[in-house]
């Protein structure tokens, strides 16, 4: 009996595989394409080497003063010398462990919301998130248990941006949830109040809200009360964020299939049981990419605080640039550094949100 002997597969034609074919298809498919490709390559060849040379090869890396910058290229010494201020502002150096502690706590809470056992993950992590800004405020400000008071005037730098963004979105979370519920409510008055609130805070430039916080809000408090400027701005940011997040949640509520609401009603759950136990977990899951996108927007907007004179990272950079020991024009280095820090954080979050979106797509059951 003859055994079946398959003929080995022939290699694909050379025209269709390999780097040459790839280039032919993707770079030189026709004449206009080839022209564009060559022009772009020429552009890159012309501009990339000087940039690399400036930023790396002939850059100044070591030293502590401006005099160390002797070579032609970038003066990264400037960044090095000011890095503490860029990250921590004018926070006293012997107390800086408090900021680091809060960063570690933030990371722990983030880890908790992914890694805890499923049956109490939601409860534990929500409680931890909500407690975080309050603990943060207490630890960073001090004034209890032997901790020295660090006035909010001294807070600053990149960690202030992170703190303002994180603290306001966390506190805004429950409020925005209520506003979204209000907007879906059957009660006409509650609904219209919610709509007005949400649309007001979404329709107003964030900068005018910051001005409200710094100039108008003091008029609202009873005579004699003096609320810290940072707290006032925090308050305004919370309002701003709850407007935006309410819309995110509204989308989430609408995306939960109506059968879920009906099923919860039919097993006799009360309104709050239905919302908190059945709907909210699904809403948070559905809205996660949008929540992250809103957070990225807020995080970028915290730089606007500079205009009302709060020493966040860009303000710190401006101060550093006008320092009399560093007048050599380091604007480019400074901006590139802050660019890089923000870009890395925001891009990282958008990648994360895309990954969450993808992982959610797999377990979708309709």
């Amino acid at each position: 009996m003859k055994e079946f002997q398959p003929i080995p597969a022939r290699p694909a034609p050379e025209q269709t595989v390999g780097p040459i074919a790839w280039m032919r298809e993707n770079l030189f498919s026709n004449i206009p394409n080839s022209v564009v490709t060559l022009a772009l390559i020429a552009f890159l060849v012309y501009y990339i080497p000087p940039i690399v040379d400036w930023a790396f090869l002939s850059a100044n890396w070591s030293g502590t003063t401006e005099d160390a910058c002797v070579k032609e290229g970038a003066c990264w010494v400037f960044i090095n010398a000011w890095s503490y201020q860029f990250f921590y502002g004018t926070y006293p150096i012997e107390e800086v462990w408090r900021i680091n502690l809060m960063i570690v706590l933030l990371l722990i809470v983030i880890g908790m919301s992914f890694k805890l056992p499923k049956h109490y993950r939601m409860k534990a992590s929500i409680a931890a998130w909500l407690a975080l800004p309050i603990i943060g405020m207490a630890v960073l400000y001090g004034g209890w248990g032997g901790l020295e008071v660090v006035s909010t005037d001294l807070w600053g730098g990149f960690t202030l941006n992170v703190f303002m963004a994180a603290a306001s979105i966390i506190v805004a979370f429950p409020f925005s949830f209520l506003w979204a519920l209000g907007r879906r409510s059957q009660m006409p008055f509650i609904r219209s109040v919610s709509v007005i609130f949400i649309e007001f805070f979404r329709g107003v430039p964030v900068l005018s809200l910051f001005f409200m916080g710094s100039v108008m809000l003091p008029l609202f408090f009873a005579e004699g009360t003096n609320v810290d400027k940072l707290i006032r701005v925090w308050l305004v940011l919370i309002f701003f964020m709850s407007g935006y997040m309410a819309e995110v949640f509204r989308g989430g509520f609408a995306a939960v299939p109506s059968g879920q609401y009906e099923a919860a009603d039919s097993v006799g759950l009360s309104y709050w049981q239905k919302i908190l136990l059945i709907i909210l977990p699904q809403v948070i899951k559905i809205s996660m990419p949008n929540i992250l996108a809103t957070f990225v927007m807020l995080f970028k907007n915290t730089t606007f605080l500079l205009i009302i004179g709060i020493p966040e990272v860009v303000q710190t950079l401006q101060t550093a640039l006008s320092n009399s020991y560093w007048l050599g024009g380091h604007a480019l280095e400074g901006y590139l550094f802050v660019f890089l820090v923000f870009w890395a954080s925001c891009f990282g979050m958008s990648v994360l949100s895309r990954r969450i979106e993808r992982s959610m797509n797999t377990d979708k059951r309709d």
């Binding site: 498919s29 009660m187 008055f189 329709g203 008029l219 500079l306 901006y335 870009w343």
Partner: protein, 405 residues
């Protein structure tokens, strides 16, 4: 162990829960709704009462005036750039208008260029050329993820202030000059018969609408297509030029010229406006590119294949099949991007471009101390501008929306 209920017991409990007479009135959802809303009315009422009384008390204590009478008072400060004539003796009311016009100007420039950039890079995402695709990706991912304020500062402090001084200006054909003080463009000064060209331009724009309607009707009746786009462009450019030639070129070009330490004449674009407009266009352009990408991706590939199979050319597929369908997704996204561009133009305050926010909430508030009035007026303007944008985009959206039969 569950106790087995008798039929009577079940019936009785059903009667208890459904009969409205036996249920307690506080368990009635309608009563509860009214109760909650009354509670909210009182809560809000108390909230606003305490705020207003605090504000009044605080204002009295600090001696701040109230009301809008400050609008007719002389402002006493000059504005860097005005589109209408303005002197420092003019009123706050006029400053408000000056600032409003400047806001409109920078928003219009920003929207125009952001749309162009966004569509170019959004479509580039689908290019057959690998390099172009990567360039589009890099553009979107870089500029979307860097705070706008940093970009404004970057253009203003790192790029535009690194330009050469007036005597070493970069120039293009001795007509356009660029230096650290701004961009200088030639200006067209019309003569006696210049209005003929203006009328020709208006006529050609009106003609395009007529032409489009006629071409559409003809296509529906006979199936023949008319090159509307090419003819329209020819009309808009050709007719005014023809009119100018016929009337004997009734205009002069006013070129900027170096006098002393700076250029005078022509149109001057101050660096603040340039930096803000560039930053707004580049930043919003990245978001619009994402919107365009999303719009095109939302169209099933089968549409392209079907169009190819009935023999449409690639250009026609784009024009007739892909773009009209993609616009349904793109237009609502454009609407919100335009609105956020207008709101973001308040960043003018960071570099000193005299937009409404800067001259009014910045300077006027500082001088008069009337925080509530100035902030309120400014907010209302941004609301109204955004509502107009929203209205126009919704009209446009209705025009491109799917007509369901």
């Amino acid at each position: 162990m569950f106790k087995q209920k008798t039929l009577e017991e079940v019936k009785a409990s059903a009667r208890r829960s459904s009969g409205s007479s036996s249920a307690a009135f506080y368990n009635n959802p309608n009563v509860r709704a009214i109760f909650y809303q009354i509670l909210l009315v009182f809560g809000l009422g108390y909230f606003f009462y305490s705020i207003i009384s605090n504000v009044l008390a605080n204002m009295e204590a600090t001696g701040i005036k109230t009301g809008f009478s400050f609008l007719s008072a002389s402002a006493g400060y000059d504005v860097l750039m005005t589109l209408i004539s303005f002197e420092s003796t003019d009123t706050y009311g006029k400053i408000f208008i000056v600032g409003f016009l400047n806001t409109l100007l920078v928003s219009a420039i920003g929207i125009f260029f952001a749309t162009i950039l966004g569509f170019i890079f959004g479509v580039a995402h689908f290019s057959h050329n690998w390099l172009i695709r990567k360039v589009a990706l890099v553009y979107v991912e870089i500029f979307r993820n860097i705070p706008l304020l940093l970009q404004v500062f970057f253009w203003y402090f790192a790029v535009l202030s690194a330009l050469p001084g007036a005597r070493q200006s970069l120039s293009l054909g001795e007509a356009i000059f660029l230096n650290v003080r701004g961009l200088y463009l030639p200006k067209m000064v019309g003569g006696d018969l210049f209005w003929v060209a203006e009328v020709a331009l208006a006529l050609s724009i009106a003609g395009i609408f007529v032409l489009r309607r006629w071409a559409k009707k003809r296509q529906e009746l006979t199936g023949q297509q008319f090159p509307v786009l090419n003819v329209s462009i020819a009309m808009v450019i050709g007719l005014p030029i023809l009119a100018l030639l016929l009337t004997g070129l009734p205009f002069e070009m006013e070129y900027p010229a170096l006098k002393g330490f700076n250029y005078f004449g022509g149109i001057t674009v101050i660096p603040e406006l340039m930096a803000l407009a560039i930053a707004l266009s580049v930043y919003t352009g990245a978001f619009i590119a994402e919107a365009v990408r999303a719009g095109v991706q939302a169209i099933p590939h089968g549409q392209t294949e079907a169009a190819r199979s009935i023999g449409l050319k690639e250009k026609k597929i784009m024009q007739l099949i892909i773009v009209p369908q993609a616009m349904r997704v793109i237009v609502p996204l454009l609407n919100s991007e335009y609105q956020s561009l207008v709101k973001n133009s308040t960043l003018a305050a960071a570099i000193g471009y005299p937009d409404l926010f800067n001259v009014f909430v910045g300077t006027a508030l500082n001088q008069t101390g009337q925080a509530i009035e100035t902030i309120f007026m400014t907010i209302v303007v941004y609301f109204v501008v955004n509502m107009v944008i929203s209205f126009l985009m919704n009209r446009f959206n209705n025009a491109v929306a799917l007509v369901s039969r």
